[in-house]
Point group: C2
Chain length 115, copies 2
């Protein structure tokens, strides 16, 4: 993961969301998809991605299938059942997080809150 350090801590959530959406993906594919979605803003580094994938797998949230395509190895990851449940929680947390950060940047003009 690179750039503004704000992305720290969001890699796992990003991976899980993409897998939920796309069924299965391999590491390199994830980096390219993220680059595309963020218009080149976020480049996931391999040093961050692969350890993260291995950890999610070790936690039982992801399953792997190895395939050889064009004489090159690919490791396809997909969410386990447990991973799908956890993804729901992570996405809820992410939305809460985004809401909170927006409230910090653009303080509500809510008369109920005195600040």
């Amino acid at each position: 993961m690179k750039n503004s350090q704000l992305y720290k801590g969001s890699l796992n959530t990003i991976i899980m969301k993409l897998l939920e959406e796309n069924g299965r993906m391999y590491g390199y594919e994830i980096t390219q998809k993220v680059k595309l979605i963020t218009a080149g803003e976020l480049n996931i580094t391999e040093g961050a991605l692969y350890p993260a994938l291995h950890k999610l797998e070790a936690e039982g949230l992801l399953d792997v299938e190895v395939e050889k395509v064009d004489n090159r190895l690919r490791k396809y990851y997909k969410l386990t059942e447990s991973g799908q449940k956890e993804t729901v929680n992570r996405l809820a947390e992410l939305e809460e997080f985004i809401r909170n950060m927006q409230n910090l940047v653009t303080p509500k003009q809510n008369p109920d809150l005195q600040f």
Copy 2:
């Protein structure tokens, strides 16, 4: 900082934004304000906050004024001129970050992007 690990990396930006908005604040006040704004969701821990304030000060982004109020010590922090400039950049980064994360959670139905 606590909770969903998504907040990792956002503490400096939060501090600077609050100081930009409120002129000057002391550490404990920052923790309470954040708790209020996020409806108790985000609790900044002292072990994260104080080192962060000291570092921002060391980088010349914050100035300190020590005051004794009600026989208790307070260290008021405010943005330096350099800190104000930097805050503009950090907030731009934060908004970009939020946009990107939203695009990940809620993929755009933009026909220009093929994914």
